[in-house]
């Protein structure tokens, strides 16, 4: 896959997000003044469930919830340009794959090319070439004629990942993509993501509530507190990937884990629901 023409950046400036209360008597602030600049690399957005990290990710994807202004205040800039709608450079991958059950694996991966937006930009031959290439990259070449119902959860997530990669995005926004997978499959998918990233370094924003996952994948870990979300911690991990089990049990890694957990507990006493997976 080709390398991006220029390094891409995402800049969040004083992002505040509020939702009206259910009883209509006020507002609930879920994101409280987050400012952040993201550079190419794997950026982990770590926080307890329901802390607003998905909301932030959706803002970067330009996907807007219904009936609420997003963000309430602040701006999201991609390459210095305000991001207000779905963006060609940023593609999202969700936990619930969103694969069409009536289409085969290759048809699902080629799905974006059914849309006028991409049909006018990518010709048929190029689309076919990209689909083949991407299927190979995620290891699904042998399953191209299968239906999603014939695949495992991990394979379905590979399809979803391939559907994003086929567009050659410079930004990959992943919303707890491996959260529904069993531990072993999650490990395999993490490996795959690293492999794909090494081949085509881009800007990955990876939302998770799994501390172990954050430490296994991240070049940078941004820890969010909950309700409202604020940046509780933000640090880099220099250890090269793939990170061995030995590193993960090293004093360095264990300290990082303790640091994250302490931050989370301090920031959100009693509310946190975090997972430390094996």
């Amino acid at each position: 896959m080709s390398t991006p023409a220029s390094p891409v950046s995402i800049e969040l400036k004083d992002i505040v997000q509020e939702y009206p209360n259910k009883d209509g008597t006020g507002v609930l602030r879920v994101v409280d003044g987050i400012s952040l600049t993201l550079q190419p690399g794997i950026n982990m957005l770590l926080g307890p469930s329901g802390c607003g990290k998905s909301t932030i990710l959706h803002m970067m994807g330009g996907v807007r919830p219904i009936g609420v202004q997003t963000p309430t205040s602040g701006t999201v800039l991609i390459d210095g340009q305000p991001c207000v709608e779905a963006h060609d450079d940023a593609v999202m991958v969700f936990q619930r794959y969103a694969n069409r059950p009536d289409l085969t694996v290759e048809e699902n991966v080629a799905f974006p090319f059914r849309l006028r937006h991409w049909r006018s930009r990518v010709n048929d031959a190029e689309a076919r070439r990209r689909v083949d290439e991407t299927l190979a990259a995620v290891g699904l070449t042998g399953h191209r004629k299968h239906l999603p119902s014939q695949l495992s959860g991990g394979q379905n997530q590979r399809v979803a990942l391939a559907r994003a990669l086929v567009l050659r995005p410079r930004i990959l926004l992943m919303d707890e993509p491996f959260g529904a997978l069993d531990a072993q499959t999650r490990g395999e998918m993490q490996q795959l993501l690293v492999q794909i990233y090494e081949q085509n370094p881009c800007l990955v924003v990876f939302v998770t509530h799994d501390v172990t996952e954050a430490l296994a994948l991240g070049d940078r870990v941004i820890v969010l507190s909950t309700q409202p979300a604020k940046i509780a911690d933000d640090f880099a991990i220099l250890e090269p990937r793939p990170r061995s089990v030995i590193w993960q049990r090293s004093t360095e890694a264990v300290r990082m884990e303790e640091r994250i957990l302490a931050q989370l507990h301090a920031a959100s006493a009693g509310r946190a629901s975090l997972r430390v997976s094996v």
Partner: protein, 269 residues
């Protein structure tokens, strides 16, 4: 060895047992019916004996004296009306339902006009339909259409709304226009439940066919029953009803089969 027979609603039943119980129940009713008729307790004018119904059925199927099959003609007419109304229901009801499902605004505007008719007596509309559309074929087809479409539209709407929002968001994120997101991401997933709506719609039409043919029908299963009742030919009334039930069942099974062929990927709950 006898299997433990504790009552368990989730225990699967073998095909053999299902068939035996089903056929057994039908046979039991037939036997009971025969016994009641044979005992002479109930007048044949009220309850004709099974063999009388069978004889009536044979007569309706082929009337050798006049070289005609009343049943065949009647069935063709009724089937034709159901098919014509069915085509209208599909062509008009599905698009309206899809638009209602895809647009909360349209839904808010149309659902008070459509939803109440699900529980309202559609049969009561028959006099109005006669006034508006006369007593010809149009009235009968439109009556079936109205009877079925008020069930179908809300079901189609709900089918569209039941598709998880994730599909919409994902398609929009990939650059789909709202129309494309509905067309390529939401609608394909709603199709199995839309097919269910069509199946219900057609079943409803079979229940209304007799009513539709109450007024000025020269041919049709409803008319056949109506006519037989007028001449107190209860055996023919029974035969006609059985034919309608058989056709309703047949078309239901056929549509179920087609649906399973068309949407094999539908997730089983």
């Amino acid at each position: 060895m006898a299997e433990p027979t504790t009552w368990n609603p989730y225990a699967p039943l073998s095909a053999q047992t299902t068939r035996t119980l089903g056929i057994g129940a039908v046979v039991a009713v037939l036997v009971l019916w025969a016994v009641i008729s044979g005992s002479g307790l109930v007048s044949p004018n009220k309850l004709p004996a099974p063999w009388q119904v069978a004889k009536a059925f044979a007569y309706l199927a082929w009337d050798g004296e006049n070289q005609r099959s009343l049943l065949f003609t009647a069935t063709v007419w009724s089937l034709g009306r159901v098919l014509a109304a069915g085509a209208l229901v599909v062509a008009i009801g599905i698009p309206i339902g899809v638009i209602m499902g895809a647009s909360p605004r349209v839904n808010a505007a149309l659902s008070p006009l459509i939803d109440p008719f699900r529980s309202a007596p559609v049969v009561a509309l028959l006099p109005i339909m006669v006034m508006w559309f006369g007593i010809g074929e149009w009235m009968k087809v439109l009556f079936l259409f109205v009877g079925a479409v008020v069930y179908l539209i809300p079901m189609v709407r709900d089918a569209v709304r039941a598709v998880p929002q994730a599909y919409w968001i994902s398609a929009r994120d990939l650059g789909a226009t709202p129309f494309e997101a509905v067309r390529h991401a939401v609608l394909p997933l709603a199709m199995p439940r839309i097919a269910d709506a069509v199946i219900v719609g057609v079943s409803v039409m079979w229940t209304y066919i007799t009513v539709a043919e109450y007024v000025n029908a020269r041919e049709g299963l409803g008319q056949l029953i109506q006519n037989a009742r007028r001449f107190s030919a209860m055996d023919q009334v029974f035969a006609g009803i059985i034919v309608i039930i058989a056709f309703a069942l047949l078309s239901y099974q056929l549509m179920r089969y087609l649906k399973a062929k068309m949407y094999p990927w539908e997730t089983k709950l």
